[in-house]
Symmetry: D4
């Protein structure tokens, strides 16, 4: 395990294959200069290692956890049950049911243990980062200005798009 | 319109009939003594009044917005497009499609405009409050202690439940 | 922004990538010599630019608006909430849920703000144009004759198709 | 069959039991003083009577047809195939599949024969009337003013709703 | 139109593109030496030509009609409404919703106008032929023997399949 | 077991509770004076009794078998695998998934063993009888006349229905 | 917590409200005289108490665990990740999505951590008991005889059911 | 047919094409040195051969049967109805409905005849083997140790995975 630096956002995914999509979470966080760490832990296959990692996050200053998984996607819910740090969930697009299973397993949490769920796949991966940034920006005017700038850029790009 | 006090969490729902469910958001926020305001605005029928209300939230100290709607549930997304304050969405259980339409319309947001979506109906209403509290608790140790206490109580209740 | 000529049908899509499908709306309108304009605006990312464009449509003689979007497809509903011009919606085929999310987000509008929704993807793109033409043809016998001709041609093509 | 007066909007439903919902189409049209006629014809059980009725609509000045059916809801599509008058479809909430069958059978029309589809059940019944009125209002400023008034009233009602 | 020979089974599909799948209906009928004819007619685009063709089938000795269509698949239902000859439906696999729309539009017929529906796509295309043959075989012992032979061959093939 | 009379149509359902719906199959057959027998056999719980009953049907002159079941509805498929008599399936409306499970388990049969599937629940129960009658009517002009009469009555009833 | 007797089957449910359905698991086990214990533990709200209980099951002679939960039903999967004792899952019928969410969250487990999933609701509750008994019966001829008797009784009941 | 050796686990699939996926069941069983046999039998096309094979399994010492099928996947249920040996089901990913039909046809069994169902496709194929092994391991400490080792290896692999 690496030495444990401060991280503001902790990103965890259930399988290394989720990185294809979750790299966009990391890129989005990096472009806002938010310190973060991406790890692979499985709710089912490495529950102990997951718990150990989670237990240290409070001490590392983590403000938001982003958890991504597919199929019977228990990772975000299991994470949320073990920490008071707010948890955002990203359902991966599963091969059989196109991510409907991942979505329902992530979002339909019982009262008491919330997971704020984003869209299936890449849009959700980006938006988990942006929602985390939105929370951090409440107490950080520099980040708020960057977020406002991001929104404006986004709008500008669309406005200047030319249809053939 | 009432005079505008400071509110930490702003709750908006698309129809007065959503109150049956969304009162649990309000109750949960109240039990944690979080200042909040609940309003009815429709993304489609009162877009201007909605915008006006949203424009004042930054000045009123709002840290999280919770938006609830059913059917083609655009409210949370439309709110998210007009503010940098983080938005949580609660899909209402619709009469025809049991809330699947509400869920998909709320959660499947495009990259750039996130809505952290909770479960359909009452569990989601409670969890939206708890996730908002989770975020606020990052900077408020009293709230964090309360949240830890709530989790413990919840666990105790389950542990002491007797099956017949 | 181009100078604003009269346009009978206004076509708006949520992303440039929708053009692959929505070009068939444009081609269909062109083949009936209906003046139209195609633009990219996002309900969420460029709400102000969208509103500005919509506000001018009455003055430009627009009779029908066609709006296309995917995922949590709020564009058609948001457009319908801001204008009295009738709105037709085309759900794009989304990558994760095959357009079921787009369809439900577009069609399940609450009472008061209608969106006449067409099929998912290319058939819907063509049919949005044809339904708009059907409305215009009520007051334009030339157009009605063309539409009748189109229907006949369509039938002829099928009748003369030879199976191997 | 009654003598055939001029009707601006023709409303057809597949079964008398649909009237519980489709009366709201009629009420909405009546409140805007739009001349209309409501009839029960089945695409499958009375195809000839349906065709006869449709053939007379052009001569009776009909501008829009609204068709409602449930289950394998072919009525709107069959109507659209027999007339150049624009057709709006209202999917009825079916007993077995909650209207998903009605919705897909109505909206997923092939290119060439459009049906502008509204929401399942009562919201769709009201919105079909409003969309028809929206089209008629293009050429009728009195109607356009009424529609604008309706929208304002609707907004006012929501704004003045008090949560408990 | 070709001269009209006797045909025991009439096969109709909504689009020439359905032939890729429906050729298996034809091959199955041919392998049982059942006289049949395959035609392309659209319930929506060529309703008159369809009706004309159907009206002649009684005179041509047709015992079963097989109808295949995709999307809002009205063809089988529309055929069933115009004839007393029993109708079997084959839902085509649609591009957007994988044939769920085709299936529901074909099978969920209202009481009074039955369509015996087979599986989506190729298995359904083969089985429509086999079910038609099953009916014909009731009054034709030669055909019954062939069908029994087909079943035995099928079983033999499976029994002799070697896994690697 | 009762003495075994000739029966033209054999009706089998997976559970006695299906009779609430399947009585409409029996009533429809009775109203056309088609000899039939209704039995309860389970594909899973009484496979041997089912097989024994099926083995006698050829000898009893049975022309069509109608099989109804819910949930993982294997009855129609299992029946079809054991007889050359054509099999029609009626999916029962299940409590959990509204009959979607019953429908897919009945209709999605592999190539080689067809089940002609009707709508979920009561409409399907009636239509299974009518489709069986349609087949029988091919060789029975009295039955064909009755069927034509039934269709006309059905149309008349709809035509004379008065909306309030 | 009660003193810990030997239990052959351990039954755990996520909420006391699941008892309405899960009592049928208990009744089925009791009628076969299988020692068992039913407990309420939540994967999310009492993860530690759950783990403690699970850790003792090996020592108490448990051969099968049955886990029931609804919504984002992680209980069975979380249990399976913490024990080598085989786990069977029963998806509860959820209020919003009729148990589709419970089913997918329970059954779509990733490779490595199996949950043998039964039907949604009461049939699944009974069948989880019967499948557990089936496993135990492999090494217990008395139990095997009872199971054979149960099957015969079940068949007898169906055979003797009289339709009205 | 091969001479019939002792087999602890019997694997049956409905079609040779299922081998692409079901080879992973076989590989998993082999890697735990569990004696097994893989066969192709169809519930519908080779019911007699299937029954004959099943009838011999008790005598061959079989403890668990694994059955895999797609579409209207009756194989596991039909197997379960003919034996007291516990049955696990693996739904194959079907071409039209992505395996939703296979899953529902396998898992939604009526009370009395359980099928322990695993995930759709490859994860389910592996997990069926592992669940069978889990049962066998109850009475076999060597196997239990291997299973514990497998779990640890699995965890190790994840822990050592490096994200780019």
């Amino acid at each position: 395990m690496p030495k444990e630096p401060e991280i503001t956002v902790a990103v965890v995914m259930g399988s290394k294959s989720d990185w294809d999509v979750m790299q966009f979470t990391s890129q989005s966080l990096s472009s806002f200069e938010v310190r973060h760490e991406c790890r692979v832990f499985s709710a089912h296959r490495t529950p102990k290692e997951l718990t150990e990692w989670l237990d240290n996050l409070e001490g590392r200053g983590t403000q938001v956890i982003i958890a991504a998984a597919g199929g019977a996607a228990h990772l975000a819910g299991v994470v949320a049950s073990q920490t008071l740090i707010p948890v955002l969930g990203v359902p991966m697009q599963s091969s059989a049911l196109n991510g409907l299973d991942s979505l329902l397993s992530t979002v339909q949490m019982p009262a008491g243990v919330p997971v704020g769920t984003l869209a299936i796949g890449k849009p959700g991966a980006i938006n988990a980062a942006l929602l985390a940034i939105g929370f951090l920006a409440r107490a950080d005017t520099t980040l708020r200005d960057k977020l406002a700038g991001y929104r404006k850029d986004q709008a500008q790009r669309i406005v200047h798009e030319q249809l053939p």
